[in-house]
């Protein structure tokens, strides 16, 4: 039987990061993944990540995945795909099912990085073809370039629901609405704003009652819920859809940890109890990534490295001191992601009313997905009458993110040491109008505005096809997606450095520069 220093189960961001870190200490590492391709969920993430430079902010998820694979290859990590770990035993042996046979392996340490799976939401008709997980829709369109449907209802307003809705729009699908049983949008306001400005309607405090159809989804019935989440009779609405996507949370896939007899605790599902290195109650077995608690890919990659430090220390490849030194660096990076309004375990997320700086949070953003001008006016640097071209940063919630600070060549935008600070405009600097901030903000929350006598110019981030062309006439939409004026395209800039976020400059009537935030072609279509 083949023996290794470390067996990693799962070749997603946590598993691969763990394997790379371990290989770099000299450990003999092997990774097993039941899927045909490595990378876990990373390759479906076509949006730009948040965080800071260390967290690979403003880089699209799938590119981070590609880098990770290259690093794994360079580190000489052995990866077995289509290899299902079907058994794990307390003596640190595993059984793997491959092709038409099984194999046994033993190791001095094991890292379980099996990730999480999408939750299901049962309702009348939910087994009909056409009802699928949000991740399923993502897989179909981002991996296989197949539209999941034509008219979609999204259930769930956490980051997954919001991000996948945007990706459905990019894929050319129509998203008829987004439903959430809670009274507030669960994900980032900027993700909600991206889709609200295209006209997607939010139905908060609503639930899905039924998927209509005999052989496949032909429609959906949604209804309002009261504060006890019970359906309010008489509020049923029919929506014309052929696809219903469920984005109602993730649950760690921790069965292997239980099989290995690790002590478990409840943390959004059964997860192994572990120390700061991810060491479980079974000596030599560690966890990394979502299987230890749902966070995000950026966190998973760091947790993978931390678990590898634990395993390397346990097997004697690094000293306690070396492990502790690296641990501090990684843990500091990890903690930076665990701050702000959406920090894991933040009990005030659904009730807070102010940002940390004391600005009132936009209730409209939290319930309808877009800021009203009245709410925006309390944030300095928004809605100002400023001479010359200037950036307007509509980032109104404390989330860990700061690419806007580093990307501006004129140092116009400042976030500061704590990356959950709201960005602040530095008025002593002069904006050059390059638009890099607009194109690189992962939340697409920055716009360039230039007010003039005859017309205002607004530069927006744009990620849809077909691209408009200069001179084209169309519709200017406000933050709610309503058409508010006619517009002419002044410029379209698609720079390789901006990685497919195109800068579209619109000419709008004077005074509309702080209102128009999206462009639709004549006829009101994207």
């Amino acid at each position: 039987m083949e023996r290794y220093d470390l067996i990693v189960i799962g070749a997603g961001p946590a598993g691969l990061s763990a394997a790379i870190e371990a290989a770099e200490t000299g450990m003999k590492v092997v990774v097993f993944d039941e899927n045909k391709r490595p990378g876990g969920q990373l390759f479906k993430q076509i949006h730009k990540f948040f965080g800071s430079k260390e967290h690979k902010a403003k880089v699209r998820g799938f590119r981070i995945g590609q880098e990770l694979l290259q690093d794994a290859e360079k580190a000489g990590v052995e990866v077995h795909l289509s290899a299902v770990v079907i058994g794990i035993f307390p003596h640190l042996g595993i059984t793997v099912s491959k092709d038409d046979h099984i194999e046994h392996f033993k190791a001095n340490s094991i890292i379980i990085a099996t990730g999480a799976s999408e939750n299901a939401l049962p309702f009348s008709g939910w087994t009909l073809p056409g009802v699928m997980g949000a991740g399923a829709a993502q897989t179909m369109m981002n991996l296989y370039r197949e539209q999941p449907g034509k008219k979609i209802l999204m259930v769930g307003s956490g980051n997954v629901g919001l991000v996948v809705t945007y990706q459905l729009l990019e894929a050319g699908c129509e998203v008829v609405g987004l439903v959430d049983v809670l009274p507030r949008i669960g994900g980032y306001g900027v993700h909600a704003a991206k889709i609200a400005r295209t006209g997607v309607k939010f139905y908060l405090s609503h639930t899905i009652v039924k998927a209509e159809g005999d052989k496949e989804v032909t429609g959906a019935i949604i209804a309002e819920v009261d504060k006890n989440f019970k359906v309010v009779k008489g509020t049923e609405k029919h929506l014309d859809v052929d696809t219903i996507c469920l984005a109602v949370g993730l649950t760690p896939m921790s069965n292997l940890a239980r099989m290995a007899q690790c002590q478990m605790v409840n943390k959004g599902g059964a997860v192994p109890s572990c120390d700061e290195y991810g060491a479980t109650s079974i000596a030599g077995i560690y966890v990394a990534g979502d299987v230890g608690g749902i966070e995000e890919a950026s966190s998973a990659m760091i947790k993978g490295r931390i678990a590898a430090l634990g395993a390397a220390k346990y097997c004697g490849y690094i000293t306690e001191k070396e492990a502790a030194e690296k641990f501090v660096v990684y843990h500091t990076d990890l903690n930076k992601l665990r701050q702000g309004m959406f920090a894991p375990g933040n009990k005030e997320k659904m009730t807070c009313t102010k940002t940390r700086e004391g600005y009132p949070l936009s209730m409209n953003l939290l319930t309808k997905g877009f800021l009203t001008e009245k709410e925006l006016a309390v944030f300095p640097d928004c809605l100002q009458e400023v001479r010359g071209i200037h950036p307007v940063v509509e980032c109104t919630q404390n989330i860990p993110c700061n690419p806007c600070q580093d990307i501006c060549p004129m140092h116009c935008i400042c976030v500061g040491e704590d990356i959950t600070n709201l960005p602040v405009i530095n008025h002593t600097q002069k904006c050059s109008g390059c638009g890099r901030c607009v194109a690189n903000c992962p939340g697409q929350a920055i716009f360039l505005v230039e007010q003039g006598e005859k017309e205002d110019h607004v530069t927006i981030p744009y990620e849809f096809l077909p691209l408009p062309v200069p001179g084209e006439k169309g519709c200017g939409c406000d933050r709610s997606g309503a058409v508010v004026c006619e517009t002419v395209i002044k410029a379209v800039k698609d720079l390789p450095a901006n990685d497919h976020t195109v800068l579209v400059t619109l000419a709008v009537p004077p005074g509309m520069g702080n209102t128009v935030r999206f462009y639709k072609k004549e006829g009101g279509v994207i």
Binding site: T127, P129, M132, M140, E216
Partner: protein, 109 residues
């Protein structure tokens, strides 16, 4: 519908088209794509009917975990079509319970 031009993923690369049969009908798909995707592109939503209630099922998780998309592929039932890749000449049949729809069993079960 296939997304030939995507604002982030770019244009799709030209790929080899292959023929396969679905319930005896000849359809086409791209070599190496999941059978489920090829079926979706051909407008097929129902992959199987359940044993007890004979209700239609199709793609649910698209990742090989839920087993709702299983069909009889090249005679083998319970084949997960969302992760099984299409090859020229594959025989794909709607699963009814645990056998192909319309298949006769000589009263042995």
């Amino acid at each position: 519908m296939r997304i030939m031009q995507h604002p982030i993923l770019g244009n799709s690369e030209p790929r080899k088209t292959v023929k396969f049969t679905f319930d005896g009908k000849i359809l086409t798909g791209l070599e190496g794509e999941p059978i489920a995707v090829a079926l979706k592109e051909n407008g097929v939503m129902i992959h199987r009917y359940t044993s007890k209630q004979h209700k239609p099922r199709g793609i649910f998780c698209a990742i090989g975990r839920c087993t709702d998309c299983v069909m009889v592929v090249n005679g083998k039932p319970n084949t997960r079509t969302c992760i099984t890749l299409l090859k020229e000449g594959m025989d794909v049949r709607t699963q009814d319970g645990v056998i192909a729809k319309g298949e006769k069993i000589d009263g042995k079960i």
